[in-house]
């Protein structure tokens, strides 16, 4: 099958006219971002990787999970019933789509988080194999590549003409193609563009990292402070990371009524682990950074048999002090 570039507009129309949400890369303030769009005109297909991951369409940065009102008798609680619309994520990158199994794992682990799962059940993810990349891409180092179909329902490959070869990966993908068959054409004789393959970083061995991290004594290794001392503790890496999923529950209330919100939180914030007593087990920044690294390369793989890092490189790009996670991976790989 082929999706002609000109037909994408039509696809947007078809999806949105039936109440669906169409998410695609667009340009906003000198950046390419995933955003829900109204028309295919907005789509930008010349991009490496959007600034945000598309996790916000499954796990919004802030969402109301309950409303409450207070009266003499006490508190009335109203749970939010979410019925998300059908959502298409178009133009996702293979690294981003690979995060979906990891996210699902954490949101369905000991408790089914319906705010996540209900949305996830309604999404169709259409990824495009990368034909461009930059220095900070490192998917190949963590066992992924632009050819990865992991997490995608439909996988596209760009042709020399700028159209897309369509491959359905899942049943949901197949159903989607059937439902919108008018925009898809039978495949002719086309040549696809070469994919951008990030160079695998030689010095990094993910399995070895896991091994090192699993050793109890290494938790106190002086290496942590050395590698992560420059971290300034902002949440930019966690908020742009496709697999970071921590959230906080906050009440915002007026005099007699209010809402309970679920907001993104970041393990990099010093208040993340602050106890009411004033004690903070992660009292310095490198300890917080250690936690994030441990989470991605040790806790996650141990618990969910899926990795917490997909090699998208966003955390490297947005880091104000350029703390490069691959340099840390390299440093640890060198350790015995």
């Amino acid at each position: 099958m082929i999706l002609r570039r000109d037909n994408i507009k039509r696809l947007v129309e078809l999806v949105t006219s039936t109440g669906g949400v169409f998410v695609a890369p667009v340009v906003d303030t000198r950046q390419v971002v995933y955003r829900a769009i109204g028309s295919g005109e907005e789509i930008e297909l010349n991009y490496i990787l959007p600034r945000n991951s598309f996790k916000e369409f499954l796990f919004p940065q802030t969402e109301v999970i309950a409303r409450f009102s207070m009266n003499k008798g006490g508190v009335d609680l109203e749970n939010m019933d979410i019925t998300p619309p059908d959502t298409v994520i178009f133009g996702a990158r293979p690294c981003d789509t690979a995060s979906l199994p990891s996210m699902r794992a954490v949101f369905t682990w000991d408790y089914i988080d319906e705010f996540y799962t209900r949305r996830e059940e309604r999404i169709t993810v259409i990824s495009i194999g990368c034909t461009q990349g930059d220095d900070d891409c490192f998917c190949t180092t963590v066992g992924l590549s632009p050819e990865s179909r992991k997490g995608a329902d439909i996988y596209l490959l760009e042709t020399e003409q700028g159209d897309f070869v369509v491959e359905s990966v899942t049943d949901r993908g197949r159903d989607f193609i059937q439902r919108y068959e008018e925009v898809f054409e039978q495949r002719g004789d086309v040549k696809t563009k070469a994919l951008f393959m990030p160079e695998r970083i030689d010095g990094i061995d993910v399995e070895r990292i896991k091994g090192w991290l699993s050793k109890k004594e290494n938790y106190q290794s002086p290496l942590w402070a050395e590698l992560a001392r420059k971290c300034i503790g902002c949440g930019a890496c966690t908020f742009t990371c496709p697999t970071c999923h921590c959230f906080d529950i906050m009440d915002e209330a007026g005099l007699l009524e209010g809402e309970r919100r679920k907001n993104w939180d970041s393990c990099q914030f010093d208040f993340f682990t602050l106890h009411a007593s004033g004690h903070n087990p992660r009292d310095t920044q490198f300890k917080r950074w250690r936690n994030r690294f441990m989470c991605k390369f040790n806790f996650y793989p141990n618990k969910f048999s899926s990795r917490g890092c997909v090699g998208c490189g966003r955390c490297i790009r947005v880091c104000p002090v350029r703390l490069d996670i691959t340099e840390v991976m390299e440093g640890i790989s060198k350790e015995q």
């Binding site: 906003d28 303030t29 000198r30 950046q31 600034r51 940065q61 802030t62 220095d135 402070a225 001392r229 420059k230 300034i232 503790g233 902002c234 949440g235 930019a236 966690t238 908020f239 742009t240 906080d248 906050m250 915002e252 919100r261 907001n263 993104w264 970041s266 914030f269 010093d270 208040f271 310095t284 920044q285 490198f286 947005v318 104000p320 002090v321 350029r322 703390l323 490069d324 691959t326 340099e327 390299e330």
Partner: protein, 297 residues
């Protein structure tokens, strides 16, 4: 210049003048610079200095980094603009002059963002602060490294930020509102602006205070507006326009415009510019009975 820097750093570490030198080094691919903490004399070779050295390293001097302080007296590689922040930190009692050793770097400008670097420093890739810089030769340092730079900033400040300020001032209130709400609505409350700022040294930021929670932490437009207004207000009369907040912002909110607007107000209303004299009080903790009050009816 780098040679001199490395030699100086090595000497300072060898004779134990400092316990650590905070400076810049290359990333692995030598495409970007990144902060480095040099504690061993032999590691002084890692230090570099070039127009990619955008970070304001004074952030590591604050109370938020006890582990950096634990390394001993801090030697800091600082451009004139970074030294302005050090001066504010001194004025606000956050550091004592004798606790730090300032390795002042003469500077001909840096890039606005490292991604823009193509091997040559051109005016169009420099931030507004560099075009108006009056501290290219460090104004407070224990040692100054580099050739003296002769540069006279223009009489009236020039550059994109000032153009934008004028443009926004020319807008109607509702246009200004639309402009800022458009930007603030993108805020993701990652607080990179706060964390990268050496003057945002509060151990507990006002936004982290609950009981009462003055600023809603949700990244919705109302919470974002409150946060951005108070952030700007808390830097009023203190911000040195180092530009780190805007550089760090992952969603490109033009914070420089906001900060510089308030810096202009401080200059015009109190004839005060921050970061030049540690003996002068920041304007909001003092007053002048003759302060203007044409707006008070």
């Amino acid at each position: 210049m780098e040679r001199e820097l490395r030699d100086t750093a090595r000497r300072l570490l060898e004779d134990k003048t400092v316990g650590v030198v905070v400076g810049y080094s290359w990333n692995r691919k030598k495409t970007r610079t990144t902060p480095v903490f040099v504690t061993k004399p032999e590691d002084a070779e890692r230090l570099i200095f070039n127009p990619l050295c955008v970070n304001n390293l004074s952030v590591y001097l604050t109370r938020k980094y006890p582990d950096v302080r634990a390394l001993g007296r801090i030697g800091i590689v600082a451009k004139g603009c970074d030294i302005r922040n050090i001066v504010v930190l001194m004025a606000e009692g956050q550091i004592q002059r004798e606790d730090i050793y300032i390795i002042g770097m003469t500077c001909s400008g840096v890039v606005y963002r490292q991604e823009l670097w193509e091997g040559e420093l051109k005016p169009e890739i420099m931030p507004t602060k560099c075009h108006n810089c009056d501290v290219r030769n460090p104004h407070l340092a224990d040692t100054v490294i580099g050739e003296r730079v002769s540069f006279t900033p223009p009489e009236t400040p020039q550059g994109v930020v000032f153009d934008r300020i004028r443009e926004i001032e020319g807008m109607s209130p509702s246009e200004r509102w639309e402009f800022w709400m458009g930007h603030f609505s993108r805020c993701i409350k990652c607080y990179a602006c706060r964390q990268v700022c050496s003057l945002c040294y509060c151990e507990r930021c006002i936004t982290d205070k609950n009981m009462p929670q003055w600023i809603e932490t949700s990244a919705h437009p109302r919470g974002n507006l409150a946060w951005n207004l108070i952030r700007a207000m808390h830097l009023f009369g203190r911000c040195t326009f180092c530009g780190e907040c805007e550089r760090a912002c992952p969603v490109n909110i033009p914070l420089n415009i906001l900060n510089q607007k308030l810096a202009m107000v401080a200059k015009e209303a109190f004839d005060y510019s921050s970061g030049y004299d540690p003996e002068v009080h920041p304007p909001l903790r003092v007053f002048d009975p003759e302060d203007r009050e044409d707006f008070i009816k």
